[in-house]
Symmetry: C2
């Protein structure tokens, strides 16, 4: 078991990393959730795998446990699903002291978090992420939200959970493609913040791909620490938190332009290649480092190029993302592996070259 | 001009009280809003009265000023109106650095605040309240939200503005019935927090009713101070902030059961009579104090009784409100005029008597 503390201005909470759900009960009790009205929200994939076990554990501390099964996938990450959650909470007379548990991947966590943030101006929120992406990234830091009119996460709120409980065994049932997509964010953590961590990932590609328990627990813990340290410094993304968007500027554009047919982490992988190439042509990493980054990404079968899009379309789309402020495009680029900086002064020509590099 | 500072855990901002819009421009500049993308949101009543003037002032600091006119009234305080705001913000490419200005009463302020809280996880928010209710109550403290399925403010967020700018001259165009409704909250502030303030209101009933400028500015300032002091202690209403709900437990039930045909402040007035009577039968205020409270409320033509409802219906409805926690009903009752306490141990029989008292 590993425990990581996340301390933001609005909340102080723990991430528990364990290889089972055995410690969930005691952590919920410690948070004072015994006998609360608790609703587990999960999707129609994850419900088949883990709802029964989690429901049974939570039922030991309260006889007011219910669940909602929502349809899976990014396509359902919208206000209609949120309204369905509101309706069920109202029907079941959930009040301000009630608790929602998000059991599933990033889509479920983001939506349940937004429902918690906005139902009665904020109710209690527990994250039980079951995908690598949600374990190392989306469950930490309080970004919640839904897609709207084709824009990813454009409606949302910052809202911190009371607890993130990670059972690494859930990765055993995760489709390999989704696991790999999660590795996109893991590699990002090494690239932006810790050269040793990047080397650890590179050295352990095989063990990671075969889900070696010790390596996986260390990897998730390290990624959680990197993410939570950044988030603790800048909860509302006024400054430093933006470095977590490394690879996301181009990544989000690609994700949207391909109608969400590629997974988020796959788009981030391609976006990181573009950002790494941009770091190379602006003289901040050398060709060997660029190659090393590409090889690591390939080690998890992640895409390094995309087709079906032209560079002008991608470039134009960069200018409409939450990260765009006053028509200035902020790019996160590497300054060597393990360091990065936020830049708003890059030349259009260089950005275009970086986009062409992934086509 | 009066300036009151509100300091919450999430934001520190000023309330400016003035008898014109003359100081608005300098305060917006001081907040760094020059040249920002700014949208004024107002309703189809207030737009006729003040949009031109406010638009013209804000246009002096930015050439990217636009406006949205929403339909007035509680009946439009819903997610459809919020979605219409989102759509217009997206169409006009509003980003995270953009600003919304709520120009109007409580309904406008609550909705614009909620849109600000949830668009791109939070954008800049300015309140220009034009009704007494919004000036002394709803614009301060960051409660935002909309009604949903007949439940008042059940979907919402805590989100603080950057500035509250009150032009007391807007009360000149406010219908008298709405002014009186605002006085419901003003009287509440005296009752729960300050006997001298209650006496000031009682002594100045005529001057208040004729909008004497000095008395009105003092009154708004005092109410803003009382409200902001409570809110600063307990932004998220985990404890002390609940005292602001004095009169609201029964008030909200009546408001909902009468299908929002009475104004909020009118329902609060009736609710305060019920709560005052409850304070009397639990021996915490004497009959003279109860009478004094009723006379003050009558001084502003506010209702002290209602018809068309039976006491059982009202009683049952008390148990479903955001203030209900785990089926325990918290009541705010007076402990003498100018003091109050939160009680969860009241007898059902006493609560029923208090409800019967207003029928």
């Amino acid at each position: 078991m590993k425990k990581i503390n996340v301390n933001t201005t609005t909340n102080n909470y723990n991430i528990i990393i364990n290889n089972s759900f055995d410690l969930l009960q005691e952590h919920l009790i410690e948070l004072g959730l015994s006998n609360k009205k608790i609703c587990i929200i999960t999707d129609d994939n994850v419900s088949e795998l883990y709802l029964e076990e989690v429901y049974s554990i939570i039922s030991k501390i309260s006889d007011k446990v219910s669940y909602i099964i929502i349809p899976h996938g990014e396509v359902n990450k919208n206000l209609d699903t949120i309204n369905n959650i509101y309706n069920k909470l109202l029907d079941n007379k959930f009040d301000r002291d009630s608790v929602l548990v998000a059991l599933g991947g990033g889509v479920t966590g983001d939506m349940v978090g937004f429902a918690c943030a906005t139902y009665m101006r904020g109710i209690k929120f527990i994250q039980i992420p079951t995908t690598l992406l949600s374990q190392v990234d989306s469950s930490i830091g309080g970004k919640t939200g839904v897609d709207y009119k084709g824009y990813k996460n454009v409606i949302g709120a910052f809202y911190q959970p009371m607890l993130v409980y990670i059972n690494t065994m859930t990765l055993q049932t995760l489709p390999k493609r989704e696991f790999n997509a999660g590795m996109g964010e893991v590699i990002k953590h090494g690239l932006i913040a810790d050269k040793n961590y990047f080397d650890f990932i590179n050295t352990n590609i095989n063990k990671i791909n075969t889900l070696d328990n010790e390596v996986i627990q260390n990897l998730i813990a390290k990624s959680c620490i990197i993410k939570s340290e950044v988030v603790s410094q800048d909860e509302k993304e006024k400054g430093i938190r933006a470095i977590l968007n490394f690879g996301h500027t181009v990544g989000h554009a690609v994700e949207k332009l391909l109608d969400f047919k590629l997974l988020h982490g796959e788009c981030v992988a391609v976006g990181m290649i573009a950002a790494a190439y941009l770091s190379h042509i602006t003289m901040q990493i050398n060709i060997d480092e660029l190659e090393e980054i590409k090889q690591c990404i390939k080690g998890f079968d992640l895409p390094t190029k995309i087709d079906k899009l032209d560079y002008v379309t991608i470039f134009n789309d960069l200018f409409y993302d939450k990260k765009t402020i006053n028509d200035t495009l902020n790019f996160i680029i590497l300054d060597g592996i393990g360091n990065c900086e936020i830049r708003s002064d890059l030349h259009k020509q260089d950005i275009l070259s970086a986009i062409k590099y992934i086509l």
